[in-house]
């Protein structure tokens, strides 16, 4: 990239300089210069092209060097022999690629065929967003990336088979269409024709009818992409990337190729439609501004009042501070809003969750093992996956966490349930309680992971309600601003109150410390501003302007 910029900058300067000189030359000379320039530009373009795609020769030396790269970076997940069975494999979803069976998701070759070297190069460079595969573009130089590719190819017999040369099964990718509303509309038609909704859901939330039963080639659970989350597209989000995915299929997964049964145009339209589903997210904020209203606060998430409240998008991550850790969290982003009046405060939490889990039976689950991962139960008694989850059914839950006591300065309790002297207060909503017609909101206190959230003994003063629509929970939790309970957080206007969020997705076997959580954000409840503030500000602004004007006038006069 830097090289490219330098190259372009140099060329630009060169042309500018030459063009200035051109003015002073005769016609003949001008033509000469133009000819020279043309040759120069063409030459530069060719050179530049070569630099960008310089591929290391595939030879024994490169393979040996590649093995070194592999032993440094790859085997913990992909295994010593490349069978996708490294020590970390068991805690990952999706599982690391098995290079021996050589089924690759991201290819530009037809279904069932090997990837070309450039496909592997792209995957290693960009990583696979939303999975454990990092982008090695910044960790390895280009040579190292080619070397490791050549080594990986020696791990499977398939690459040695000349009859399987992937360069013979490359798909041809045309140029993407100009995206218009019409193209997107046609893409929606293709979405329905190809029945993408069967797995990806009607609105692309990854919650189709067949979503919960999908597995990879080896029987481990795989979930279809929530197409609204662009940051999790394994192979990139450009139109060409998306088009390539359903042209080639994603081998080793249930994602099929549509090369035969959708026309090229249909696939481009579909790519445009899928891209249009991507929601942008803004994770820059950390301030949740409560909006003061006069009305009674709604428990209903669909109340129009919520449209007035400012929204804060909060990134969520798996809990990996204390055992049992959680590396495959379901909820990775949450939109929060806050309303308050003189008496009460209400929060609305909105987040995507593929499946509505409203039953709860922990069975003989506890104590939870650190390595119990969600893997499909198979009807096949032969299938004996490493960890089966057949003993319990878990609910969806969500919690808001505050420091129990007012904080001074920037010091806050630990965001993972506080610690000894700095307890936290949580408002937790449980879907199963709501389903049974009980109050779903529980007031809890915690003092660190050894003293995890425990329900308060007195009846909960808080209320709430969750609504589940098409792969999304919208949960409202409401409480009095001020309570008499000592162990409750008290809310007052004009101060920054640390607030953080936690979520549990039952069907992802999340419970206890196996959860998604956020770090601290700030909640501010702005009191109504007295009108005098605005008047004084206006007066000061005008006065300052006047003074400045006077100054300038005077200084001008003195100069004259």
């Amino acid at each position: 990239m830097i090289l490219r910029m330098q190259c372009l900058g140099c060329l630009k300067r060169f042309i500018n300089k030459k063009l200035i000189i051109i003015k002073e030359y005769s016609m003949k000379e001008k033509i000469k210069i133009m000819k020279f320039l043309t040759v120069f530009i063409i030459g530069a373009v060719i050179c530049y092209g070569n630099i960008a795609s310089a591929k290391l020769p595939e030879n024994q030396e490169a393979i040996t060097a590649g093995k070194k790269v592999y032993t440094r970076h790859c085997w913990p997940c992909h295994g010593v022999d490349g069978a996708g069975d490294g020590p970390a494999a068991e805690i990952l979803e999706p599982r690391p690629r098995n290079f021996v069976s050589a089924l690759f998701k991201l290819r530009t070759t037809t279904t069932g065929n090997l990837p070309i070297d450039e496909d592997l190069f792209k995957t290693i460079t960009n990583g696979m967003p939303g999975s454990a595969m990092p982008a090695f573009g910044t960790l390895l130089n280009e040579d190292e990336r080619w070397q490791v590719i050549y080594y990986i190819k020696t791990l499977s017999d398939y690459f040695a088979d000349k009859s399987l040369d992937p360069y013979n099964s490359k798909i041809t990718i045309g140029s993407p269409p100009v995206v218009t509303q019409d193209v997107i509309q046609k893409g929606r038609t293709a979405y329905e024709k190809a029945e993408c909704f069967k797995c990806h859901g009607d609105q692309g939330k990854g919650n189709g009818d067949s979503a919960s039963e999908l597995t990879d080639q080896e029987g481990y659970r795989l979930l279809p992409r929530n197409l609204t989350k662009g940051w999790k597209y394994r192979g990139g989000t450009s139109l060409t990337d998306i088009y390539t995915r359903f042209t080639t299929g994603m081998d080793g997964t249930p994602m099929p190729s549509f090369i035969d049964n959708l026309t090229d145009d249909e696939r481009w339209n579909l790519a445009a439609y899928v891209k249009s589903l991507i929601k942008e997210r803004d994770l820059t904020g950390n301030m949740l501004k409560g909006l003061k209203v006069e009305e009674e606060l709604p428990v209903d998430a669909e109340s129009p009042l919520w449209e007035l409240a400012e929204a804060l998008e909060v990134p969520m991550a798996g809990q990996i501070i204390w055992k049992p850790r959680w590396l495959i969290p379901s909820v990775d982003t949450m939109v929060v809003q806050c309303l308050f009046n003189d008496d009460e405060i209400a929060f609305k939490l909105t987040y995507d969750d593929r499946f509505k889990d409203v039953e709860h039976d922990e069975g003989s689950l506890l104590p939870i093992s650190d390595t119990a991962y969600p893997i499909l139960q198979s009807e096949d008694p032969e299938f004996d996956p490493h960890f089966t989850l057949n003993e319990y059914i878990l609910r969806d839950s969500v919690a808001i966490q505050f420091p129990q006591n007012p904080v001074e300065g920037t010091e806050k309790p630990h965001f993972m349930w506080g610690y000894g002297n700095d307890p936290v207060y949580l408002l937790k909503w449980n879907s199963d309680a709501q389903e049974q017609g009980n109050n779903p909101v529980f007031e809890m206190n915690a003092k660190g992971h050894k003293k995890p959230p425990k329900e308060q003994e007195t009846a909960s003063q808080a209320v709430g309600k969750g609504i589940f629509t098409d792969g999304q929970w919208s949960v409202v939790i409401k409480r009095k601003l001020v309570t008499e309970e000592k162990s409750d957080t008290q809310f007052s206007t004009g101060t920054f109150i640390p607030v953080s969020f936690q979520a549990w997705d039952g069907s992802n076997s999340e419970i206890g410390s196996r959860m998604s959580l956020s770090t601290w954000n700030y909640l501010i409840l702005e009191g109504t501003m007295p009108i005098s503030v605005y008047i004084y500000t206006a007066i000061f602004v005008i006065a300052a302007a006047l003074l400045e004007w006077l100054f300038t006038c005077r200084s001008k006069k003195s100069k004259e």
């Binding site: 089924l103 190809a194 029945e195 009818d209 249930p254 549509f258 049964n261 009807e379 096949d380 004996d384």
Partner: protein, 237 residues
């Protein structure tokens, strides 16, 4: 010299034909199940009720008759120096109806191109193959469309549809005509087998592979009755 060559060829031909037509025998038998039935649950039909129907369907993983005869065992004789299956002029068809493959175990000659039409079910099926020697495929086939895939190497290929998880079938790519698939009572019959000693290979999707020594005699019927037992449960530590 010419005479000598002709003589040699003449005798060679006699020799060859005498070998080829040394006489054929027949292998018949019954494959039964022995041991504790693993009790595979019925398939739960819970998708696309208007096309696939509802309720449950008996599993095809292990189909036993009243006296434990096993259906759908692929019985083949290994290494017969005899005829080879010709690639059929018309592509074999592997279809499905009501979200069920038309045949659970189907044999096609090596080198065949198989048509997978979706002409009955008004839903999309994604036909997903699991194989080692033939490159696997996974293609979406909406209603009214078909795909054609070549199978160039002998192998047992599993075909599934991920949308309808219960849809599972096996396509056996095979070289020669010395095979049979057991009927509902577990009976099979392989005819015109050149006399000799061979290995009879049994394969059943849930019980695995088994080899038995057999001898085929000219004009005789060799009887092979065999009991397959459940595979030992695969244990991962």
């Amino acid at each position: 010299m010419k005479f000598l060559a002709g003589f040699v060829i003449f005798f060679l031909m006699i020799g060859l034909s005498s070998h080829l037509f040394a006489g054929n025998g027949t292998v018949v038998g019954t494959i039964k199940f022995e041991g504790e039935n693993p009790g595979y649950p019925d398939a739960n039909i819970n998708k696309d009720p208007e096309v696939c129907g509802t309720g449950t369907r008996p599993t095809e993983k292990l189909i036993l008759s009243a006296d434990n005869g096993i259906k759908n065992v692929f019985v083949s004789i290994v290494g017969v120096a005899g005829e080879k299956l010709a690639v059929p002029a018309e592509n074999p068809v592997f279809g499905q109806e009501k979200c069920n493959f038309n045949e659970h175990v189907m044999v096609v000659p090596t080198g065949s191109t198989v048509d997978f039409p979706n002409m009955v079910d008004k839903v999309m099926h994604n036909l997903h193959s699991y194989s080692m020697k033939n490159r696997p495929f996974n293609k979406g086939v909406p209603f009214g469309e078909k795909i054609s895939m070549p199978f160039t190497k002998p192998e047992t290929v599993k075909i599934t549809c991920d949308v309808h998880k219960w849809m599972i079938a096996y396509l056996i790519v095979h070289d020669d005509p010395y095979y049979a698939i057991t009927d509902a009572d577990g009976n099979f019959k392989i005819e015109n087998v050149p006399a000799g000693t061979y290995k009879l290979q049994l394969w059943q999707e849930s019980l695995g592979r088994k080899k038995i020594d057999i001898e085929v005699k000219d004009g005789e019927e060799s009887k092979v009755d065999f009991a397959m037992t459940p595979r030992k449960r695969r244990k991962k530590s």
